[in-house]
């Protein structure tokens, strides 16, 4: 179970948010909502340990995530604002690098199945720089399909995706929740997900 207590974030001399607490239990999705600039992305980065909270802490199964270190990082897959796609590499190469890095299955069959599900199989041989924004986003999201980690942290995952890809991702998220996975995401789109959905409203 992911838990955060009393998180506070200060950027420069402005307090972005304070006293933010949340819990996500297995099979639950937490939808972080809020206007632009309310600190959604920062909160997500904080949950991943990329940003250090001024006060409060992130806990996994009751223990501080900071203490667990790599043990905690092994449990999460993060897809941020940026796609982390290398323009010079092809889609499968990008995915392979990620799989190796995270200890996810890295055999060619798994990777190409993930890319195929997102409709990116036909582009397996071209460098990602010729892909459109939506296609790059799909390639980045293929990481979720090969991931075995219980916690997904997604920052605006539906951005730039077309209707078909949104549906695929929606199914993937639902499947993940049914397998007792946990999802924390931000999005401005209304994408219905069946199951236990909680909402966290951020400031402003």
């Amino acid at each position: 179970m992911l838990e955060a207590v009393d998180l506070e974030c200060v950027r420069g001399d402005r307090r972005l948010f304070a006293g933010v607490g949340l819990t996500v239990a297995p099979g639950e999705l937490l939808h972080v909502r809020g206007p632009n600039g309310s600190g959604k992305t920062t909160l997500l980065r904080m949950l991943c340990g990329l940003v250090k909270p001024v006060a409060g802490e992130v806990r996994w199964a009751g223990r501080p995530a900071r203490e667990l270190g790599d043990g905690f990082l092994a449990l999460l897959t993060y897809v941020g604002h940026h796609n982390a796609i290398k323009d010079e590499l092809t889609g499968p190469e990008n995915l392979l690098v990620h799989a190796r890095l995270c200890g996810a299955p890295d055999d060619a069959a798994t990777l190409s199945a993930a890319l195929e599900r997102l409709g990116m199989k036909a582009y397996g041989r071209v460098p990602c720089k010729v892909l459109s924004a939506g296609q790059k986003r799909r390639t980045a999201l293929a990481r979720l399909l090969i991931s075995r980690s219980p916690l997904w942290i997604l920052d605006e995952p539906f951005n730039a995706l077309d209707v078909g890809a949104v549906a695929t991702l929606q199914q993937a998220i639902q499947g993940h929740l049914q397998r007792d996975g946990m999802v924390v995401l931000t999005t401005h789109q209304d994408v219905p997900i069946d199951g236990a959905v909680k909402t966290l409203h951020m400031g402003a």
């Binding site: 990329l50 941020g80 940026h82 010079e88 590499l89």
Partner: protein
């Protein structure tokens, strides 16, 4: 990690060529400026080649993390369940293979321009072989600290060049000592010691710097 970075380098070959040409041109400017006096050239050769190598290696530092920072790959490295210092070491090794090794290979040719004797050329190569990885390792700290900072390039040189001084002194000193018949062994041993030290400690410092830069 090393393989990924090398693949990227191979797909951006122009970058490596730029660094190499920079090195060649800087070194070649000196004989033109100083004049063809063989004795003077021979005396300044080790220093000139080493200073040019420092500058060339520094030029390429900016790219070590900048692209990964811009496209979000760096975030993924930080949230990957692998020791960040090891990933950093992988990136530094790739950086050295792409920017240091070409300099080492090119150096004897440039040394010839300055009329260095054969044993001097050999020691020049060995000293660069030991010294350029130190430059990449130490430079990585500077590159990590200045990520996302405006005017990062200039800042990197201010941060890193002072730290390069010991490498420069012993690198150029090794060649000097050999040419003057004293033997460059002691200098090379110190360079090797610096390499071991830098190899052990700088990846941790760089990893810490990356965490600060991304916070």
């Amino acid at each position: 990690m090393v393989r990924r970075d090398l693949t990227l380098v191979m797909r951006n070959r122009a970058d490596v060529a730029t660094i190499l040409f920079f090195f060649v041109i800087v070194v070649s400017l000196f004989p033109l400026g100083v004049g063809p006096e063989m004795n003077i050239l021979r005396t300044i050769a080790p220093g000139v080649v080493w200073v040019a190598a420092l500058l060339a290696s520094m030029l390429s530092l900016g790219r070590m993390f900048a692209a990964d920072h811009a496209d979000g790959t760096l975030e993924q490295l930080l949230v990957a369940p692998a020791p960040l210092a090891l990933l950093v070491l992988g990136k530094v090794i790739a950086h050295w293979l792409a920017s240091g090794v070409p300099l080492v290979l090119m150096a004897p040719l440039l040394g010839l321009q300055f009329g260095l004797p054969a044993d001097g050329l050999a020691v020049l190569m060995v000293s660069l072989l030991l010294g350029t990885p130190v430059l990449s390792l130490v430079g990585a700290i500077g590159a990590a600290l200045t990520l996302g900072v405006r005017g990062g390039g200039v800042l990197v040189s201010l941060l890193v060049l002072p730290l390069y001084i010991p490498v420069l002194i012993f690198g150029a000193g090794a060649v000097d000592a050999t040419v003057s018949g004293l033997g460059g062994q002691a200098h090379l041993s110190i360079l090797a010691a610096m390499l071991v030290l830098a190899g052990c400690f700088t990846p941790w410092a760089t990893a810490a710097a990356l965490r600060i830069s991304l916070d």
